[in-house]
């Protein structure tokens, strides 16, 4: 076959360029892989600039101000480029006594682990870096590498506060991995495979409609894994100054920020792949380009939700954070796994996916509301115990409010 421009453009439109190049030029597999990797990684790095601008603009609008509007036109579009140039020209101030290897290795590892996770995300039917049959497991494994990088950064900085910040970061990240991993088990059970492409193919009904509680738990754990508000105790300036990256300056600090944004984009992409049907949509299978468009729209929608949450909620204290995880999220996730397993097996095999979706949705709703009710009652009991300790005269009767006690007293 000889090279034909029309055929090339057609393969570009159908997103089968790799196959076309292989047929026409006989390019070996690994060169095509290298080109794909370069395109993906460059897109991600440039995307970070767009995401930073988007976040600054959205946060400022949520806070009733304008945001960047000087650099690059009326909307400050080149603001991130200016920031990147600024970071490139800043001095690398290495603290005295820092552990050289750990200090310098940490920014590398954290960006590499953030990039590596993208190898298994399906962008369109047939467009995936490599469709590992343990895709989801691989993602969870690679996301744990950044925890090690955090420890290296905190340890190598020769700074007590960096070390404390690193310990707290690790405690938070490691705690919230448990509900994330357990919540991801439920789509695996429903789809019957850990491969992300198969999970997308199995979603005739989007999993957010089938198991919304699992989606919510995954979203909360992802927020905590990313270190975003309301769980951004670790890098908030009024807390432990900047946590594990106090002693980094210039581009090395830029690497930490870059990894945070790549991870945020990745969690949005993972959420859309697993819960919102990935690239699915009307006409996505015949025209893979439409699949790519749907995927992008959904991912940016979830990213908007993440930024929205950041602009809305206050910060959570570290002990509140850990209590919330171990005493609420982990038990509810375990109960959810048991319930979903039971329901899926109890229903007959040939039930339509919409019926299964409806039943599981009801069950999720029941478990979620039940858990909230249990914790509301226990919090009420705790509050009554504190009230009783504070006012020993008025013994609280179950079901009556303090107003009923004070009203007769003021009538005298």
């Amino acid at each position: 076959m000889s090279f034909d421009v029309i055929d090339f453009l057609e393969s570009l439109f159908k997103l089968t360029v790799a196959d076309y190049l292989r047929q026409v030029f006989g390019v070996p597999e690994w060169i095509i892989d290298v080109v794909q990797i370069f395109i993906l990684a460059t897109f991600l790095l440039l995307n970070v600039l767009i995401l930073i601008w988007l976040e600054r603009k959205l946060i400022s609008r949520f806070q009733d101000r304008i945001g960047p509007n000087r650099v690059g036109g009326r909307y400050g579009l080149l603001q991130s480029v200016a920031d990147a140039l600024k970071m490139l020209t800043k001095e690398f101030i290495t603290p005295s006594g820092a552990d050289r290897i750990a200090y310098n290795l940490a920014p590398f590892i954290i960006v590499v682990s953030a990039l590596l996770m993208w190898a298994v995300i399906p962008f369109a039917p047939g467009v995936v870096g490599t469709d590992l049959n343990v895709g989801l497991f691989y993602i969870l494994a690679v996301s744990s590498i950044s925890v090690v990088a955090l420890l290296l950064a905190g340890w190598g900085s020769n700074n007590k506060y960096a070390l404390l910040g690193a310990f707290r970061s690790v405690a938070q990240l490691v705690s919230y991995e448990v509900p994330m991993v357990l919540a991801l088990l439920i789509p695996i059970m429903l789809a019957g495979s850990m491969s992300l492409q198969r999970i997308v193919y199995a979603q005739e009904v989007w999993y957010i409609l089938v198991v919304p509680l699992s989606a919510i738990i995954f979203l909360i754990s992802a927020l905590a894994e990313l270190g975003r508000t309301p769980f951004d105790l670790l890098e908030a300036e009024s807390e432990i100054v900047a946590g594990y990256h106090i002693e980094y300056s210039g581009m090395k600090w830029g690497m930490f920020m870059m990894s945070e944004f790549i991870n945020a984009f990745f969690m949005s992409a993972l959420f859309t792949t697993i819960y919102l049907g990935g690239w699915r949509g009307p006409g996505a299978v015949e025209y893979p380009l439409l699949g790519l468009v749907y995927f992008s729209i959904k991912t940016f929608l979830i990213l908007f939700v993440l930024i929205w949450i950041r602009g809305t909620f206050p910060r959570v204290r570290i002990d509140q954070l850990l209590n919330f995880n171990w005493k609420f999220l982990v038990p509810i996730t375990l109960v959810l796994i048991m319930a979903v397993a039971l329901i899926v097996k109890l229903l007959p095999d040939d039930v339509s996916s919409w019926v299964l979706a409806a039943v599981l949705f009801m069950a999720n709703l029941a478990i979620g509301l039940g858990a909230l009710e249990i914790f509301r009652r226990s919090a009420h009991r705790q509050r009554q115990a504190v009230e009783a300790a504070r006012n020993p005269g008025t013994a609280p009767v179950a079901g009556t409010s303090p107003e009923a006690h004070s009203a007769p007293a003021s009538a005298h």
């Binding site: 990797i37 800043k90 590398f108 590596l116 490599t130 007590k160 490691v174 210039g250 097996k345």
Partner: protein
Amino acid sequence: MLSDWQFILLFSVIALVFPGAPILIAQLINPKKPNPIKQSTYECGVETVGDTWIQFKVQYYIFALVFVVFDVEAVFLFPIAAAFNQLALFAVMEIILFVVILLVALGYVWRKGALEWF
């Protein structure tokens, strides 16, 4: 199946370039003027006292331990979840038993006070 992973190998090698390039460019064009005041450890303006590598609180260790237990549980649950469609109803009973044992373990850790931060 092994060929799936060669993409990952290529990716991990090439992904080293992407943090490396900005740091290298920055290294070439940024100023280098070290002096002892600039490089002293940051502690909001005061001098640091004592060794940096302080003894850490035991709570961090306990949280890590509890995490290891639940992580191993999750790893055991993964193959069951992946092969779930081919299993009989009896397997669900086994899953429930396994998860209940671990819920009891969580309850034990909770009662013992190991989940308190202070």
